[in-house]
Symmetry: C2
Subunit: 116 residues, 2 copies
Amino acid sequence: MVSLREAVMTPDLQPAFRALADPTRRDILRMLGDREMTIAEVSENFDMTRAAVKKHLVMLSDGGLINVRAEGREKLNSLNADALRPVMHWLGWFDQFWDTRLDALKNVIEQEETND
Amino acid sequence: MVSLREAVMTPDLQPAFRALADPTRRDILRMLGDREMTIAEVSENFDMTRAAVKKHLVMLSDGGLINVRAEGREKLNSLNADALRPVMHWLGWFDQFWDTRLDALKNVIEQEETND
DNA sequence: TTGACATGATACCATTTGGTATCGCATATA
DNA sequence: TATATGCGATACCAAATGGTATCATGTCAA
């Protein structure tokens, strides 16, 4: 029996971290930020076969990072950004070790971002 | 020529993401949060040979996640948490997609954490 | 019903990954 | 100087990964 907090914040991180370890899959995630896409549409953006893209989508799905919805003979893949929260949470533990000398620089950068 | 922001916030993320993709390496990072350790010391915490641990340390070093300092015939490995910032930054892009309905739950959890 | 088409499934291949065993080298220390 | 010790390097192996080609299946449309 795990606590509510454990259940929500500490699922098995391995599938998500593994899914994020490939640049193609990270690119796919950002593409799906725009809109949900079929496998064929995703594949158009890469120089590889649809079967290869399909494998990446399976890994993303295994990590819970995308949802797949059937519509007729098409499968629409959509981003599930919430699955990135546990990953962020894990990384957040390291906040305590961040070099505070960089904070000023961080602020500068974030200021720049507001001007994008 | 890349901008300051690009140089600081968008280095090549691949070595870091790859380093984070293995549970042993993630465990090592948290161990090194306590104190810097020799290879032998890190190896004591795992059921694998020193050579295997060494390989993990090399990958962590490739990702910039640890620093290695020689002291006599020993090599002291220490956490470089700052290298996780670009990773956090990349993940932060997805904040815009997070389900706001989870924010209340997140607050509850963070409240719990203050009571640890 | 008959194609056309989007997807799924499988077999296969090369490379990377995660591990072991073993040897050599540099550095403390008796 | 010997010798023990901490580490690095290499060769090797099994399994996972990232890709291809090919065929099967379900669904839309004429």
